[in-house]
Structure formats: structure tokens, C-alpha cells
């Protein structure tokens, strides 16, 4: 089908317009609102909208300015012929006319019917007829899958017609497939799990329940079986324990009997031991007596032998004592002599010391007496000096100083006095001048020291006050006092003036100084002390002389040493002599003590010897007495020997008996028996406790074994097993059926998919060919099919990293191009029904494509045109398609 010419009248914006189409390539250009889309609509309407009618579509076609009903004429080729189609959309009076060039003509409905048969069964609704080839403005980027599905049957029919081997599922195929899908949906959830209400779900639930029941029944059965086993074990154990108890009881009885025998034997041993002991004691006593007698005899003889030397020792000791005593006496006499020599030497020393003192004192007295003579001379000079001092005025320098002070004060007071007193001179007077009591004549001068009334004549009376005040009087009085004091002092020291007083004082104090010097010398000479000393020495000398005279009546002054040095030598000699005497005395005293100690020692030795001898003698006496008593007691030697033999035999007999009894006792192993009894009792107790425990276990097991008389665990278990087996069998069956259904469903899906791929392949290949000029040589378009339906459009581009893009992931421009490619491919396939040609109208379909892409698009469109399609592009930008090589129709 190919459009040849279109004429519109009174159609929307177009009053009257005729366009002639190129057979392959057309670009209808015009600015916006020029009516380009209206032209595409007019083609669609005239092809698919019946002329008669007043629908919204009809009314929309009306011209805006009025002027008659819309009319559309279309000339086209179809079915190998040319047709002229005219439609006048006059509502109920709408007219249609279809005329085959050189053939028949059809009017109205017939025209419409023939037209429809020319266009094909799946032409579509009037408002969207041939939607795959009329790409309306604004819809170019929409997913073309929906459009493809609309023409799917036609496409498949074409593929089948062209390919021959390609098959399409039948209605029954679809129905079976749908039923399978339904059944699988009923049986399984989307996640592939069996649905709860499905046969498989129910079977599996029943199996789970049966498994649970079986588990419980098995547990109950096992519980009973376990109780039965426990009971059996407990019974066996009880038998063992009872047997063990009996054995232990027998052992205990035997052990107890043995213990009794042991006790009896022990008693026997104790008795025999006592008897043996007695026998041994008797034998021992006899033996001891014999021994004692022999011992006593031996001891006696020994003592007797020892006694003689002891007596000789006593005598020797006495002699020794005497010798020591003699030596002691001699030592004492020597010591006494030495002592006397010491006394004599001491007396000599005393005498010589007395003489030494006397000589010393005498020499001292002579020295004191010489000093005393010098003192007395000094005393006589002092007396003389005192006498001369008494003849002098006894004025001291202080007195002279005081008198000069007094004189100075008087002089100063007088000067003051004279300075303040007034002086009245009468130079001339015609009248008597009476001053106080005195009358002054001219030439008289009067001094006044006090307030004085002056009268001159009778008429003049003046009061003169010297010094302006009363101090003149005080000064006068002070002067008087001072004079009086000076005079009194001068009188006292008996001088007239201070100068005199100083001369007297010099003389007096010179004398006194000389006296004081003398007195000091006297003081230094210690006159009194010397006198006392001389006195004292004299008395001492007297006393010494008296003592000397008394001690040595013959001695006198002539025998005395010449001086103190001689006396001291004599004393030293005497001291030496006394020390020698004392040394000797000490030596002899020591010897005396040694001698006395030796005496004492000898005395003790003698005493000891005597005591020992006496003691031994007593022992000898006692031994003799004891021996006599023992013999008397135990008899003589022969009798004693006989008794000893008898006693020894008896002892041995007792010992043998006891040994035999002990052997018997040991044979019974008393220490083991002693352990055996508590051990066996413990074991019996333990077995008793074990028996109790096992009996409790038995009882418990018995309790668990008792049935309730209604339920039968064995039967329950068997039934549960049977139920489980049935449930498992049923579940297996259902699982098999479910698997079968799923498998069937899967196979159907796969086959459908395979079919779908077969019939989509030509379409896909064509679409890819259209795309490659635009998107590149590696571009492949893929159409996913689910069952009989197109589901998804994808683009693969080997030159991109991403493997595939879904349609809605593409950019707006690419979407337009992909959609256009698919439409062109569909048109090319479907064109087979229309003499190999279909018009494809793009109304501003590439508004999102960039200029470069649009240039590439022209290759796509050119390819379509070259393959027989009639491409009509409506655009407001005709320059974009300048490379298309199309007929350009400007509106």
C-alpha cells in the first residue's frame, strides 16, 4: 500500500490542501501550527473512520472557521491497483466513495467494507488504526512493545507464511498450558514451596503429623520397653545382691565364730601367761636369793680385803698432820718477828719526822722575826708624819674651790646690783631736793636701789623706781646672802681669801699623801700577821720540843740535825727501813697462811681416812650379818640348788603350753578377723543400701510397666508406623505427581519460549539492521517473549561495557530511535500483505535526538525506503532531513 496524493478540505486548519507523495521518501515541512499533524490524522481518519457518524472524532475534524463538512480524498496503491478514496464527514449524511482506477467503484458502506479488506483484518480502531506505522507526535519515545503485541498475530502469520517451518501454538496448546500453569500455581507458592491446601501440601502436612505421632508412640513404647529392661536388670541385680548378702552373711558368721575362738584362746594365753609368770618369778626369786648370797659373800670378802690398807692410811694421815702443824708454828713465829720489826721502824720514822718538823719551824721563826723589825721602823715614821700634819691648816682643795666659787658669785651679784640701781645727781636746785629722808644739794649724787620718793620743794613730789620694778630689791637681798655665805666659809676654814685657801690646801694634801704612802708600806709588810705567825711558830716549836723531849728523853738541841735538809734525809732513811720491814712481814704472813691451809688439809685427809675406815668396818659387819640372815633364810647351798632345778623345769613347761596356745591363736589370724568383721558388716550394709536402691528402681520400673487397661503402646506404635508409612507413600505419590506437573509446566514454557524465539527472530534481525546505522554495527535488538506475548525490549551493544539495556533505561533520543527501528521492522514484515509497501509516518518523532543522530537517522529512513517502505516525515525543521534525499513538501 502506497499513498499517492492527499487532499483535505474544511479539515481543521486546512480549508483546501493537496499533497502529492513520493513513492519512497517524503518530508512534509512546516512551522508549528501549520497543520502537519492534521495531515497525518486526516490520512488515518480517511482510512479507518467511517464517513457516516457523529462521534467525537468526527466532530474534532470540523474546520475551525466553518465553511462546510470536512472532506478528505486519498489516492493510493493497494493490491496491485490504484484507488481513489473520498470521504465527506457530514455526520449522518457522511459519504464515502472508493474507486479502483480502471475498475469498480464503491460507495458508502460498501466502500468502507472494501477499504477495510484492503487494509487488513487487524487494522485497529478508527482512532488508532495502523498504530504501528502512524507515529504520532509525542509518542515516538513510547515502548513499542504494546504496539508489537497488537500486531503479533499478523507478524506471526507473516513469519509462518514466509518461513514455512515456524509454528504457532494452538488454542488447545494454550489451554493446556494455562491449565498447567493454574495447577502448578495451585500446588506451589511463588517461592516453590507446596501450598498448604494442595494435595502435596496436605500430604506433606499429614506426613509431618504422622512422623510426630510415630515419634511420640515410639517414645511411649520405648519408655515401657526401658521400664521393662530396667525391671529385668533390677530383678537380676536384686538376685545378685541377695546372693551376695547370703555369702557375706555366711562369711560374717564364720568370722564371728573365729573371733569367739580367738577370744577364748586369748583368755587361755592370758591365764597361761600368768602361770608362767608366777613360775618364772619363783625361779627368779630363788635364783636371785642364791645370787644374793653369793654376792653377799663376795662383797664381804672384798670389803674385808679393803679394810687393812684403809687403817694404814689412817695412821699415815695422822703423821702428816703433825708435820704440817709443826711447820705452821715455825711460820707463825717468823711472821711475829717481822711484825715487831715493822713497829720499830715506824717509831724511828715518827721520831725523825718530829725532828724534821721542829727544825723546819725553827728556821721559819727566824725569818718572821726579821720581817717584824722592818715593820716597827715604818710605824715610827708614820707617827712622826701625823704629828706634822696636825700642825697644818686643814684646808682641802675642795674647800678652796668652794670659797673661790663663793667669791665669784658675790662679784657677779654685785655687778648686777650696780647695774640696776638708779643714780640721781643734783646738778642745780633752787629748792630743796629731798630724797627719801635725805636732802640732796646740788652736786650730790644719790643711788637708789629701791622705790624712793623725791621731793623737790613742796610742790614737787616724785617717786623713783630703779629698774622699773621690784627686782632691785631681790638682787640686793641675793647679794647679801652670797656675801654672808662667803664669809661664813672663809671663817670656817680659817682663811681670808680663796688664794690663801688654795695655798693651805696644797700643803695639807702633800703631807697626807706622804702619810698614806707609809701606811701602805706598813700594810704590805703585814705587821699583824707576822706577829701572829711568830707567835704561832713559837708555840708550835715549844710543843714540838716538848713532844721530842718526851719521846727521846736523851735528845737535846745538840743532837738535832743542823738544818732541814739533814732532817729530811734522816726521814727518808727511816721510811725506807720501815718499807723493808713491812715487805718482809707480808711475805711471812703469806707463808703462815699456806702452812695453816696445809694443816687443815692434812686434818681433813686424816678425818676422811678415819671415816672411810670406820664405814668399811661397819659394812663388813653388816655384810656378815646379811649373809648370815640369807643363809638362814634360803638354806644352805645344796638345798638351794635342788630348788632351783625344780623351779626351772616348771617354768619351761608353762612356757611350752603357752607357746602352743599362741600358735593356735596366730593360726586364726586374729588381726585379719578383727578387720573382717567390720568389713563384712560394712559390705552387708552397702549391699542392703544397694538392695534398697535397686528395689526402688524395681518399684519405679514396675510403676512404669503398669498399663491403664485402655491404651496399648505396642498397638499404638504399630498403628503410628502404619500411618506414617501410608503418609509417606502418599507424600511420595503426590511429590511424584507434583514433579510431573512442574516438569510438564516447565516443558510447555520452554517450548513456548522456543516457538516465540523462532517467530521473533526475523523481526529482531530487521529491527537490528535498522538500528545499526544509528547506534553502530555491533547493535543487536532483543525481544523477550513470554508465552505468546512480547514482554521486553532490550538493546545489546558490544561496544559498550554494559551488556544490555532495557528500553526504559535508554535515553529519550535512543528510545525514539529504537522505537522507530522496531516500527520500521514491523512495517517491513507486515508490508508483505500490502504489496511489499506500507507508509510509515513520523510526526516530529525525533525531537529528543541530537543533530548528529538525526543525520544518522536519515540512513535508517533511507534503508526503510530502499526496502520498499514509503517514509513520510513531518517536521518543523526540514533542514535536519536535507540528507534524506526526500521530496520536500512545504506547508
Amino acid at each position: 500500500m502506497r499513498l499517492l496524493e492527499l487532499t483535505v478540505r474544511n479539515y481543521r486548519v486546512h480549508r483546501a490542501l493537496t499533497i502529492q507523495f513520493d513513492a519512497h521518501r517524503n518530508v512534509i515541512a512546516g512551522p508549528n501550527e501549520a497543520g502537519k499533524s492534521t495531515l497525518m490524522e486526516a490520512i488515518q481518519r480517511v482510512l479507518f473512520l467511517p464517513a457516516k457518524g457523529n462521534t467525537v472524532l468526527h466532530r474534532a475534524m470540523q474546520a475551525a472557521q466553518g465553511g462546510g463538512f470536512p472532506e478528505v480524498e486519498l489516492r493510493f496503491e493497494a493490491g496491485g491497483a490504484q484507488y481513489h478514496l473520498e470521504k465527506r464527514y457530514a455526520k449522518a449524511n457522511g459519504r464515502a466513495r472508493l474507486t479502483q482506477l480502471g475498475g469498480r467503484s464503491f460507495s458508502d458502506q460498501a466502500a468502507e467494507d472494501v477499504l477495510q479488506s484492503l487494509l487488513g483484518e487487524s487494522a485497529g480502531k478508527p482512532e488508532a488504526g495502523w498504530a504501528h506505522v502512524f507515529v504520532a507526535q509525542g509518542r515516538s519515545g513510547q515502548d513499542p512493545i504494546e504496539i508489537a503485541n497488537l500486531y503479533r498475530q499478523d507478524l506471526v502469520a507473516q513469519f509462518q507464511a514466509s518461513g514455512g517451518a515456524i509454528v504457532q501454538q494452538s488454542a488447545r496448546d494454550a489451554a493446556v498450558s494455562a491449565t498447567l500453569a493454574q495447577q502448578v500455581g495451585d500446588w506451589f507458592t511463588l517461592a516453590g514451596k507446596p501450598r498448604a491446601g494442595s494435595p502435596l501440601g496436605e500430604a506433606e502436612t499429614a506426613l509431618a503429623e504422622a512422623s510426630q505421632t510415630l515419634e511420640e508412640a515410639t517414645a511411649r513404647y520405648e519408655q515401657r520397653e526401658s521400664a521393662s529392661r530396667r525391671h529385668g536388670e533390677a530383678s537380676a541385680r536384686i538376685e545378685e545382691i541377695v546372693a551376695e548378702q547370703a555369702a557375706l552373711g555366711r562369711e560374717l558368721t564364720a568370722a564371728t565364730e573365729r573371733a569367739h575362738r580367738i577370744d577364748a584362746l586369748r583368755d587361755a594365753v592370758a591365764e597361761q601367761s600368768r602361770e608362767l609368770e608366777q613360775a618364772e618369778r619363783a625361779y627368779a626369786q630363788a635364783l636371785e636369793a642364791d645370787t644374793r648370797i653369793a654376792e653377799a659373800r663376795r662383797t664381804l670378802e672384798q670389803r674385808q680385803r679393803e679394810l687393812a690398807p684403809l687403817e694404814q692410811a689412817v695412821m699415815d694421815a695422822a703423821k702428816g698432820l703433825e708435820e704440817r702443824q709443826r711447820q705452821a708454828r715455825a711460820a707463825k713465829a717468823a711472821w711475829e718477828d717481822a711484825s715487831a720489826a715493822v713497829v720499830a721502824a715506824q717509831a724511828t720514822l715518827d721520831d725523825r719526822m718530829l725532828v724534821q718538823e721542829l727544825v723546819g719551824r725553827r728556821e721559819a721563826k727566824a725569818r718572821v722575826d726579821a720581817s717584824l723589825a722592818r715593820v716597827e721602823a715604818l710605824e715610827a715614821e708614820i707617827v712622826h708624819r701625823r704629828t706634822s700634819i696636825a700642825a697644818l691648816l686643814q684646808v682641802t682643795r675642795e674647800d678652796a674651790e668652794a670659797l673661790r666659787e663663793h667669791e665669784d658669785r658675790c662679784l657677779r651679784a654685785r655687778a648686777v646690783m650696780e647695774a640696776i640701781s638708779a643714780r640721781l645727781s643734783v646738778n642745780e636746785a633752787d629748792r630743796p631736793v629731798q630724797v627719801g629722808e635725805r636732802t640732796l644739794a646740788p652736786g650730790d649724787v644719790e643711788s637708789f636701789a629701791e622705790e624712793t620718793e623725791i621731793r623737790v620743794g613742796e610742790a614737787v613730789r616724785l617717786t623713783l623706781t630703779p629698774g622699773g620694778g621690784t627686782d632691785v630689791q631681790a638682787a640686793a637681798q641675793s647679794l647679801d646672802g652670797l656675801v654672808r655665805a662667803r664669809d661664813e666659809l672663809a671663817a670656817r676654814i680659817d682663811v681670808t681669801s680663796a688664794i690663801e685657801a688654795f695655798a693651805a690646801a696644797d700643803r695639807y694634801e702633800g703631807e697626807r699623801a706622804a702619810l698614806a704612802q707609809l701606811q701602805a708600806r706598813l700594810e704590805d709588810a703585814g705587821g699583824e700577821r707576822l706577829r701572829d705567825e711568830a707567835q704561832c711558830l713559837a708555840e708550835t716549836i715549844t710543843a714540838l720540843e716538848t713532844r721530842l723531849a718526851r719521846r727521846c728523853p736523851g735528845a737535846d738541841g745538840a743532837n738535832l740535825p743542823a738544818d732541814l735538809t739533814q732532817a729530811q734525809h734522816a726521814v727518808q732513811d727511816a721510811e725506807y727501813a720501815r718499807a723493808s720491814a713491812q715487805s718482809r712481814e707480808t711475805d711471812l704472813a703469806a707463808r703462815l697462811r699456806v702452812a695453816e691451809a696445809a694443816v687443815e688439809q692434812a686434818r681433813e685427809a686424816a678425818e676422811a681416812a678415819r671415816h672411810q675406815a670406820r664405814s668399811l668396818a661397819e659394812q663388813v659387819a653388816a655384810g656378815e650379818q646379811t649373809l648370815a640372815w640369807l643363809v638362814e633364810q634360803y638354806g644352805e647351798q645344796d638345798a638351794r640348788q635342788r630348788a632351783l632345778v625344780d623351779l626351772r623345769a616348771a617354768t619351761e613347761q608353762h612356757a611350752r603350753r603357752m607357746a602352743a596356745t599362741q600358735d593356735a591363736l596366730e593360726g586364726l589370724q586374729p588381726e585379719l578377723v578383727q578387720q573382717d568383721i567390720p568389713r563384712l558388716r560394712r559390705a552387708l550394709d552397702g549391699q542392703g543400701a544397694a538392695l534398697e536402691a535397686v528395689r526402688a528402681e524395681l518399684h519405679q520400673a514396675l510403676g512404669a510397666l503398669g498399663g491403664d487397661g485402655v491404651s496399648d503402646p505396642e498397638a499404638d506404635l504399630l498403628r503410628a508406623r502404619a500411618t506414617f508409612d501410608r503418609a509417606r507413600e502418599r507424600a511420595d505419590t503426590q511429590r511424584l505427581r507434583a514433579d510431573a506437573l512442574q516438569h510438564l509446566h516447565r516443558l510447555f514454557s520452554e517450548k513456548q519460549q522456543s516457538l516465540a524465539e523462532q517467530y521473533t527472530r526475523p523481526l529482531v534481525e530487521k529491527a537490528s539492521e535498522y538500528l545499526r546505522p544509528v547506534l553502530g554495527a555491533s547493535t543487536v535488538l532483543q525481544l523477550d517473549v513470554e508465552g505468546p506475548v512480547f514482554r521486553r525490549l532490550e538493546i545489546y551493544r558490544a561496544d559498550r561495557a554494559e551488556s544490555a539495556f532495557a528500553f526504559d533505561e535508554l535515553s529519550g533520543g535512543t528510545r525514539e530511535q529504537v522505537a522507530a527501528a522496531l516500527r520500521l521492522a514491523m512495517a517491513e514484515v507486515l508490508a508483505a500483505d500490502h504489496d511489499g509497501c506500507l507508509p510509515v509516518v513520523f510526526d516530529d518523532a525525533f525531537t529528543h535526538s541530537d543533530p548528529e543522530r538525526i543525520r544518522q537517522l536519515q540512513r535508517m529512513l533511507d534503508l526503510a525506503a530502499s526496502r520498499g517502505l514509503q517514509v513520510i516525515v513531518l517536521t518543523c525543521a526540514p533542514r535536519d532531513y536535507s540528507g534524506f534525499g526526500a521530496r520536500e513538501i512545504l506547508l
Binding site: L180, E714, L717, A740, L744
Partner: protein
């Protein structure tokens, strides 16, 4: 010794009544109860046999009860049936109803009911001779479920006492397996005590001093020695173990001191246990199978149990038909124990109907794939075959 004792003694030898057996594999509780009741009703038939044979007494060689925990109501029912037998019944404890502590014979309830309902029942709990007027019973009771030693060992110690028994026939009662005859491994899932059997050593028994050994434990009748017999269960309780497996019987035994016993098998069971193995082959496999089933079971309901082993291969339609039939049989039978290894083998028509389906290419393609997969073994093949059948159903 009376004159009567010198004559032959006739008694009925039974064993393994296993009253209270749960029949857990039977799904339907009513059918389960039916089987349980059958074991009690069989006691009545034993009584009839004893009456017919004028038996001096009846012995039960162990396992009178199925377990130590049989419900009291069942105990009462069983004792009542025993009480109605009208002659002495001597029983030894077996492995299911051992005589030890916790065993059923110790239960006060049982003892009371025994006194009240079955005074003719005597439980021989101890291994010691029970001297009767007409015989001497030598019981070998099991004191516990699994005896560690030979329960009959005590017989060897009777050396000095045999003459005390005079001419009375000596009858050993024992329960367990014997050395030269061990029960084949019992795969019956309804027995908790099947493993670890109690071993009896018949060869050690003083053969000359014994006249008959009444054995229990093996549930089919079987002679295991000149004088030794298993009576088998009085009412069959499991599927046969082979062609010679005859159960549901009791033995009428005639003994005489020093002579070989005379033993006669008498049927006392009512329930039939069948085994059928069928392989589906040929063009019309279902009718042949239906015929075989009809032949075996007729129109009986609630009288039979069947262990059915199916093999071979079936087309989808035949399989559906078989399933319908199996549903019917499982209702009619007390139990249908099915071992079905039949595989799907769609017919040529069925294959064509799926794989050569030109109008429905998808179905055809899937079917073709599945047909190929179904040739493989294991789970994959099994799933494919089932899927094919599902597809067949959906596409039909």
C-alpha cells in the same frame, strides 16, 4: 495311675492366638476390629473341635495374648471365650505375653477376670511338671520376652523324676524357634517382636522321655521333629510365606506314653489371606487381571486380605481402569496390600494422540520430549512417565 490314664490321651494343640493384635496396617478401624474379633471367634471353633474330638484339654503353646498391654476389654472378651470352652486350657507365656514382671499374666485385672470368667484356664508360669490325670505337662514358659538361655533346658535336669510320671504321656509346651528350623526373616511390619527369636534346642531334650512337643511361635502348621509340631496360629494373621504355609489351624493330638503321637490338622480360622502376583502384558491386560481377581475373591466382602504384586506396563487408559478396579477391591477386601511396580506404557494410539498432534504443536512437542525422557531410568524417567499421563489427561 488309673486305667483311663493308660489309654491314649487326646488334646488340642494350639498356639499364637495373639488376642489383641492391633492389625495396624489395616486402615479402616471397622475392618481392623473385624480381624481382631475373628481371633476371638476362632476360640469358639477350637472349642468345637475339642468337643468333637472329646479332647481332654487344650494347650496354648505361648502368645495367647499379643502383648503385655492388651486393653482390658479385649482381655475380658478373650477370657470369656476361653471360659466357654468347657474343658481345661493350659497355657504357657510366650514372647508376646511373657510371664515375667510387667507381663500381662501379672495384671490384677486379668487374674480377677480369669477367676470370674475362665476358671478352666491355667497359666503355667513355672518350669516344673504339671501332672494331670491323663498326661504330664512339661511347660517351658518364657519369663521375659527374650530368654537368654534355652527355656527347655530344665528338662534335662528331671533325670530322677521321669518314673514318677508313670505311664502318663509327657507333653512339652514350648515357645520359640528351633535350631534346624528357623523362621524365615519375617518382614511382616505388624510385629514388634519378630526379631531375636527365642531359640529352643530340641535335640537336647530327652527324646525318649518325651512323647510330644507342642510348639508355638511359628504361625503356620509345621512338623519339626518326630514328636515336635508347631500348631500355627489358630486364626491366620499374616500373608503366607510360601506354598506350604498353612495357617489358621489347630492340631488334634493323640498321645500315648512311649508311642509316636498322632497328629491331625483341623482348620479353625475363618479369615483368608491371599497372595497374588500379576504381570500386565499383552494387548488386553486388564480383563485378564480382572478375571484372576474374580477367580480368587469372587464377590466376597470383608472376608479376605490380599497381598497383590503387580508388575508389567499399562497404557494410560488401562491404568485408569486398573485404578478404578483397585479402588473397588480395596473396599471389598479387609486389606489390600499392594506392591505395584507397574509402569506406564502408553499404547501406539495414545502416543499418536499426543505426539502426532499436528493441530497442537506445543502438546506434540512436549509429548515427544516426555516420551524420550520416559525411556530413561530412575526418578527422571518416572517423573516423565507421570507427566506424560498428566498430559494425556489434560489433552484428552
Amino acid at each position: 495311675m488309673t486305667e483311663a490314664a493308660k489309654t491314649r490321651t487326646i488334646f488340642v494343640h494350639t498356639a499364637d492366638w495373639q488376642i489383641g493384635k492391633p492389625y495396624a496396617r489395616v486402615v479402616d478401624p471397622g475392618k481392623r476390629a473385624l480381624l481382631q474379633d475373628a481371633r476371638i471367634r476362632a476360640i469358639e471353633r477350637i472349642g468345637q473341635v475339642a468337643e468333637d474330638e472329646q479332647a481332654a484339654f487344650i494347650v496354648v503353646a505361648g502368645d495367647l495374648f499379643d502383648s503385655s498391654t492388651v486393653p482390658s476389654a479385649t482381655v475380658s472378651k478373650a477370657l470369656s471365650a476361653i471360659g466357654a470352652l468347657g474343658r481345661p486350657v493350659y497355657v504357657i507365656p510366650g514372647n508376646h505375653d511373657h510371664g515375667g514382671t510387667g507381663g500381662i499374666w501379672e495384671q490384677p485385672y486379668l487374674r480377677r477376670e480369669q477367676e470370674a470368667l475362665a476358671p478352666n484356664l491355667e497359666v503355667l508360669l513355672d518350669p516344673e511338671p504339671r501332672v494331670l490325670e491323663s498326661a504330664v505337662l512339661l511347660p517351658c514358659p518364657l519369663q521375659r520376652r527374650h530368654a537368654s538361655d534355652d527355656p527347655a533346658a530344665w528338662l534335662s535336669g528331671l533325670d530322677g523324676r521321669w518314673q514318677d510320671f508313670g505311664d502318663r504321656p509327657r507333653i512339652v509346651l514350648a515357645h520359640g524357634s528351633v535350631q534346624d528350623f528357623t523362621a524365615p526373616a519375617d518382614d511382616e511390619e505388624d510385629d514388634l517382636h519378630a526379631s531375636a527369636p527365642n531359640r529352643l534346642r530340641l535335640e537336647r531334650m530327652p527324646q525318649d522321655d518325651i512323647d510330644y512337643i507342642a510348639l508355638g511361635d511359628w504361625h503356620a502348621t509345621r512338623q519339626v521333629g518326630a514328636k515336635a509340631w508347631y500348631a500355627g496360629a489358630h486364626e491366620q494373621d499374616r500373608f503366607p510365606r510360601g506354598a506350604d504355609y498353612v495357617s489358621g489351624q489347630s492340631l488334634v493330638v493323640s498321645v500315648h506314653r512311649g508311642a509316636a503321637p498322632e497328629v491331625r490338622e483341623v482348620r479353625t480360622g475363618a479369615i483368608r489371606w491371599h497372595q497374588l502376583t500379576h504381570e500386565f502384558v499383552g494387548e488386553a491386560p486388564i480383563p485378564a487381571f480382572e478375571q484372576a481377581m474374580e477367580q480368587l475373591l469372587g464377590g466376597r466382602v470383608d472376608r479376605d486380605l490380599l497381598e497383590l504384586q503387580l508388575s508389567g506396563a499399562l497404557g494410560f487408559a488401562d491404568r485408569d481402569r486398573l485404578d478404578e478396579q483397585l479402588d473397588v477391591w480395596s473396599n471389598r477386601l479387609i486389606r489390600l496390600k499392594l506392591k505395584d511396580t507397574t509402569t506406564y506404557a502408553p499404547t501406539r494410539e495414545e502416543i499418536d494422540a499426543l505426539a502426532r498432534r499436528s493441530a497442537d504443536p506445543l502438546i506434540a512437542q512436549v509429548a515427544t520430549a516426555l516420551l524420550e525422557e520416559s525411556q530413561s531410568g530412575g526418578r527422571e524417567g518416572e517423573v516423565a512417565r507421570h507427566a506424560l499421563r498428566e498430559l494425556y489427561r489434560l489433552a484428552s
